[in-house]
Structures are given as structure tokens and as C-alpha cells.
């Protein structure tokens, strides 16, 4: 029983991060039918922002907020730099610009920061443990699950209850038709990139806590997976 609880908590906490990552990737894919290959870099940007803020007098939550904000801004920048200029021209062009933007960000990080792993500030609460059903588990695992659930719930509310969310869902199923109702294409796409950045940023905060897990190979795994139905699927409580 103890082993079961242990596994359940471990897998749920890592799994909920994967869910958030997949959601961030798929919200852009669902609308543009194009994979944003610079998505892993959004997670990296938030991570390095946190590292660069190390030693600043800000409380951890403020640093985390800045890190997430940077991921959001980088997400929006991806749209402006890699997608918008070539979006209407060709799919191949977007694929290449998206790879290029990813390479650019990665190498900028290698060049200006470091190719080696770096320490980031971590709040005290992440190093505490709790007893649940006879097992000792790091509190950060529980926090990860709670934050992921809150974000997923928030995402579902935005997608179901707000005009922007409804427009995003409409655009994900029939983009041209949504435009013919007056939904501006640029607003929808930029919002998708911003939400994508937000999710990546939050994932980054928690992913940093897993030793050796801060690797992009898992993002590539999700890429190969392409869970394209997700945006209309379980997370929004809609039929697929």
C-alpha cells in the first residue's frame, strides 16, 4: 500500500507536468496545425530567468512570476518572429523559422549563460516533506499536482466561459469560418502563443525540481505524440 501511494504521487506529479506541457503545445497546434518547435525553449527561458534572478532581493514568488512572464513574452515573440511573417506563405517556411528560432534561443543560452547545469532559487516549501498514508513524500510533489489541477481547471473555465476561449475553440475546429464571423486571426494566434508560454513557464518552475528531468527530450516525445484532440478533449470537458 505504501509503495502504491508513493508511485501514485510520483507519477501524478510528473504526469501532471506532462499534461500542462502537452496542453501548451497543442493549443498552438490545434489552431495553426503547425508544431511550434521552439516550445521547449519557452521552458528553458523561464528556467534561466529564474537562474538570472538568483541572489536578487525579490521573494521567490515574485521571481517565479517574472520567469513565467518571460516565457509568455517569448511565446508571443515566437509568433511575431517565426510565424507571422511567413504564416500565409508556406507551411515549410514556418517549420524552418520555428526550428531556427528554437536554435537561436538555445545557442543564446549556451553562449551567454552556460552549457552546464545551473542552480536556481528554490523556496523553502519545496524542500519540506509530508506524511501521507504512511509514506514520506516531498511537499513539492503535492504542490505540483495541486497547481496543475488548478491550471487545468482555470484553462477549462477560460475555454468554456469566456468569449476568447469560445473563439479559440471555434478557431481550432474551423479557422477560416471563425474569421468569417469577425474573429481576428492575429488576436487568436497571439493569445494561443501567450497561453502556451504561460503553461510552459509554470511547468518550468516545477520541472526544475525534478533532478535530471530538465531535459528537452521529453518535450520531443510529446511532439511525436501530437495529442491534437486535447484542446477540444478532456481538458475542456467537450466531446471530441
Amino acid at each position: 500500500m505504501a509503495a502504491f501511494i508513493q508511485f501514485a504521487i510520483d507519477t501524478l506529479s510528473l504526469g501532471s507536468l506532462y499534461a500542462l506541457m502537452a496542453l501548451g503545445l497543442v493549443i498552438v497546434y490545434g489552431i495553426l496545425r503547425l508544431v511550434n518547435f521552439a516550445y521547449g525553449e519557452l521552458i528553458m527561458v523561464a528556467g534561466y530567468t529564474l537562474f538570472l534572478l538568483n541572489g536578487s532581493p525579490l521573494p521567490w514568488l515574485a521571481m517565479a512570476a517574472v520567469a513565467v512572464l518571460m516565457a509568455v513574452l517569448t511565446g508571443i515573440a515566437t509568433d511575431y518572429v517565426a510565424f507571422r511573417p511567413v504564416r500565409e506563405k508556406s507551411v515549410t517556411a514556418v517549420l524552418i523559422t520555428s526550428f531556427a528560432f528554437s536554435t537561436l534561443l538555445q545557442n543564446a543560452a549556451l553562449l551567454f549563460i552556460s552549457p552546464r547545469a545551473r542552480l536556481v532559487p528554490v523556496p523553502d516549501i519545496f524542500s519540506q516533506s509530508v506524511h501521507i498514508g504512511g509514506v514520506v513524500t516531498p511537499l513539492r510533489n503535492i504542490l505540483t499536482i495541486v497547481v496543475a489541477l488548478l491550471l487545468l481547471a482555470g484553462f477549462a473555465v477560460v475555454m468554456k466561459r469566456t468569449v476568447l476561449g469560445i473563439a479559440l475553440r471555434a478557431a481550432a475546429s474551423k479557422f477560416t469560418m471563425a474569421r468569417m464571423l469577425g474573429v481576428p486571426a492575429n488576436l487568436i494566434i497571439t493569445s494561443a502563443f501567450a497561453i502556451s508560454g504561460l503553461l510552459a513557464g509554470v511547468v518550468s518552475l516545477f520541472l526544475l525540481q525534478f533532478r535530471d528531468a530538465f531535459t528537452f527530450s521529453l518535450v520531443i516525445l510529446i511532439l511525436l505524440w501530437r495529442p491534437e484532440g486535447l484542446i477540444r478533449g478532456p481538458a475542456t470537458g467537450q466531446r471530441t
Partner: protein
């Protein structure tokens, strides 16, 4: 109100619309007829901004609107009902209608009032309000896309083949609704393959053949023209 001059639309090397000029006056119901592949839908999509014309001009109330984006066209008062009957299948009827009013989403009271008025015309939509649009029948979906287009309070409504794939009894119902809509003052440009039905409710008509206007006139003139069949057959 709408003036199209020498419109040309291309899909790569293929010219779907070679030379179309047409005029629609305020309050009119104009039918655009023609056989499959004559360029009717392409003409309509170009007016709605969904296809970029290769040549020609489109003017709305004297203002040039050629090659504007679809969302700008909606803001200027053009609403399009495509023949593909594009409901958003996973969205409820209410959400579909809400998106129809996207460009004027700030005047909630008026949007609600318009929705009520449309429910009088399309009572089935009120019954199905919380159902995903994908679960509606073909005729109900057609009513939904028309009502959704009307939610933007368009000056000009573009209807592409509203009768396509519907049972005859339902087609009659849809045409009744178009007549009622027209009575509310909206100008309509109607593309139809069912020429007989379209001419019965239209004021004027244009006949397209191979991407160009082959005939134009009042609905009666076109209906009695003996060469209409020939044009339809592509002769």
C-alpha cells in the same frame, strides 16, 4: 450597395472566376445562378474576403474593400454563410450564436434582443440551445449558420447554396425563412443551384457560366429566358 467589377479569382493556374461584374442594391435579394464549377462560390468567397481576388474591384457602399481580410469584411457589414454549412460542431448552439455576434460583443443587451428575435424566426434553435451544434440535423445546422451570420447585424448577407443536401420539405422551409429575413431589411446575395426556387424569391438574377456572367436580368426575365437551360448545361 455592393459593386463588383471585373472580378477574377485564381486557384494557382486555374481561373475559377474570369470576369464577373455585378451590382446589388440596398434591400434587394439577388440570385447568382449557374452550374457546378461556374465560379459562384468563389465569387462569394472573394466578396467575403476569404479568397484574394487576382484582379478586379469590390466596393461596398462606394468604399473599396477589395482584398480586405474576412474579419474586416464582417466589421463593414458583410456576413457569409458558406455552402459547407460550417457550424462549430463541438460548440453549443448558444456558443455558435455568441461567436456570430463577435464584432459587437460589447452591446450585450442588443445582442440578446437580436438573439430573441432570431429565435422567433428559428424556434428550433431555442429548443436546442445547449446542444453541441454537431448533433443537429442538416436542416437545423443550416438554420444555425444563417442565424449565426445574422447575429453580426449584417447589411449584406451572402448565402451559398442553403438548399444543398437538404430534403425538399426542409428546403421549402429554408426558403421561407430567407424571405422572412429579407423582410427585416437585410440585403441578400443568394447563390443557388436550385434555379427555379431561387428565382421565385429573388428580385434580380445573374447567371454565371465558366467564370463569367452569361445573363442578367429581373428574376422573371431570367426565368422565362429560353437559353437558360443551355447555359446550365454549359453549352
Amino acid at each position: 450597395m455592393l459593386e463588383v467589377r471585373n472580378l477574377q479569382v485564381r486557384y494557382g493556374a486555374i481561373r475559377a472566376v474570369r470576369d464577373v461584374s455585378l451590382t446589388v442594391r440596398r434591400g434587394e435579394l439577388v440570385a447568382l445562378l449557374g452550374a457546378n464549377g461556374a465560379g459562384k462560390s468563389s465569387t462569394l468567397l472573394a466578396i467575403a474576403g476569404a479568397l484574394k481576388p487576382a484582379a478586379g474591384t469590390i466596393r461596398l457602399e462606394g468604399e473599396e474593400v477589395t482584398a480586405l481580410s474576412p474579419e474586416q469584411m464582417v466589421k463593414r457589414g458583410i456576413a457569409m454563410v458558406p455552402e459547407t454549412r460550417d457550424v462549430f460542431p463541438d460548440l453549443t448552439v448558444a456558443e455558435n450564436l455568441q461567436l456570430g455576434a463577435f464584432v459587437r460583443r460589447r452591446d450585450r443587451a442588443e445582442v440578446d434582443a437580436d438573439r430573441q428575435a432570431l429565435f422567433d424566426l428559428f424556434p428550433i434553435l431555442a429548443e436546442r440551445i445547449d446542444q453541441p451544434a454537431g448533433t443537429l440535423s442538416g436542416g437545423e445546422q443550416q438554420q444555425l449558420v444563417i442565424a449565426r451570420a445574422m447575429m453580426s447585424r449584417p447589411k449584406l448577407l451572402l448565402l451559398d447554396e442553403p438548399s444543398l443536401g437538404l430534403a425538399p420539405a426542409i428546403v421549402d422551409k429554408i426558403f421561407d425563412m430567407i424571405v422572412k429575413l429579407r423582410a427585416t431589411g437585410v440585403t441578400i446575395l443568394l447563390v443557388e443551384q436550385n434555379a427555379g426556387k431561387a428565382l421565385r424569391i429573388a428580385d434580380r438574377a445573374y447567371v454565371l457560366s465558366l467564370g463569367a456572367i452569361a445573363a442578367e436580368g429581373t428574376a422573371d426575365e431570367i426565368a422565362s429566358a429560353s437559353d437558360l437551360k443551355a447555359i446550365y448545361l454549359g453549352a
